[in-house]
C-alpha cells in the first residue's frame, strides 16, 4: 500500500515536470517564431516588423536615433523612412539565445546589419541586441528591443 502511494506520488511529480517542461518548450518555440517572423519582415523591407506581434507601447532603442522610439505606430513610421532610403537591408542575428522566465521572455545575441542605401556605399554594422517579450492572453508580444552597435564597416 505504502509503495503504491509512493509510486503514485512519483508518477504525479514526473507528469508535472513533463507537462511544465513541454509548456516551457512550447513557449520557447512560440517566442522563436515571433522573433524569426520579425527578422523575415525586416529583411523584406516590411515596415510592420517589430510591431505586428508587439504590445501597443513597445519601445525601441535603435541605431538611427539616440532617443527611444515609443509605440507601434512610431516604430512603423521610423522603419518606413529607413526602408525608403534603402535599396536592400539584411539583418542577421548571430548566436541568438532565448530564455523564458514565467510570463516574460528574453532574446539576445549579436547581429550584422548590411544596408545597401539608395544613394551611397554599402554599410555593415555589427552589434548586440536584446528583445523582451511579455505573454498576454496566451500570446507573446514584443515589449522592448535594444540594438547597440559595436562597429561599422563600409
Amino acid at each position: 500500500m505504502v509503495y503504491e502511494k509512493r509510486g503514485m506520488t512519483v508518477g504525479i511529480v514526473l507528469l508535472f515536470l513533463c507537462v511544465t517542461g513541454l509548456a516551457y518548450g512550447d513557449d520557447l518555440d512560440d517566442v522563436r517564431a515571433v522573433f524569426n517572423a520579425d527578422m523575415k519582415r525586416f529583411n523584406t523591407k516590411d515596415a510592420s516588423a517589430f510591431s505586428t506581434e508587439a504590445h501597443d507601447d513597445v519601445v525601441l532603442f535603435g541605431m538611427l536615433s539616440p532617443f527611444a522610439v515609443k509605440g507601434k505606430v512610431a516604430i512603423t513610421d521610423m522603419l518606413k523612412g529607413f526602408f525608403a532610403d534603402s535599396e536592400r537591408v539584411t539583418l542577421t542575428p548571430i548566436n541568438p539565445e532565448f530564455r523564458i522566465i514565467g510570463a516574460s521572455a528574453l532574446a539576445w545575441g549579436h547581429f550584422t546589419n548590411t544596408e545597401v542605401p539608395a544613394i551611397g556605399p554599402r554599410e555593415v554594422i555589427h552589434g548586440r541586441y536584446t528583445f523582451t517579450y511579455a505573454k498576454r492572453d496566451g500570446k507573446w508580444l514584443l515589449v522592448g528591443l535594444h540594438f547597440s552597435p559595436l562597429g561599422v564597416e563600409g
Binding site: 539616440p66 527611444a68 522566465i101 514565467g102 516574460s104 528574453l106 548586440r128 522592448g144 552597435p149
Partner: protein
Amino acid sequence: MSWKWVLVVAVVLAFGSIASESAAQQTRDALIASFGEELQAINGRDLVDVMSHVHEDVVLFGLYSPFPAVGKDAFRQAVQDYFDTFEEANLNPAHEEYMVIGETGVAWGLYQLTTTRQGGMEQTVNGQYMFTYVRPSGQWQIAIWHFSPLPGGN
C-alpha cells in the same frame, strides 16, 4: 432590478476599478523603487546589495566587453571587475521611463557614466540603457541590463 441594487453594483464596480488601478500603481512604484535601489547599490559599490536585485538567468550587455554576461555568477564577476577597475564611478540616469506589462517591467533612458581609473584620469561617457525586470515571486528582479554608448558620447 431596483435602483438600490443598481447602486450597489455600481459602487462595487467602482471600488474594484479603483483597487485595480491602485494595485497597478503600486507595482509600477515598486519597479521604480527597485531601479533606484539598484542604482544606489552600484554607485555605493555594494556588491551584495547589487546582487540582491538580480534574477538567476540575468543577461548583461555592458560597456567593457562585447560579449554578454549570462547568469548570476557572470553578472557578479562583471560588477566586481567594474568596482576593481575604477577608483570612482558614478552612473546617472536621465529621462528615465518605466513600463509594466503584466509580470514584465521595462526601464529605459539615457545615462551619463563618470569614472576614474585607479591612478587615472576622469572620463565621462553618455549612452542609452534598457533594463528588463521580471516578477516571479512578487519582487522585481533584473533580467536584462543593456548599456550602449552613444557615438561621440565621450
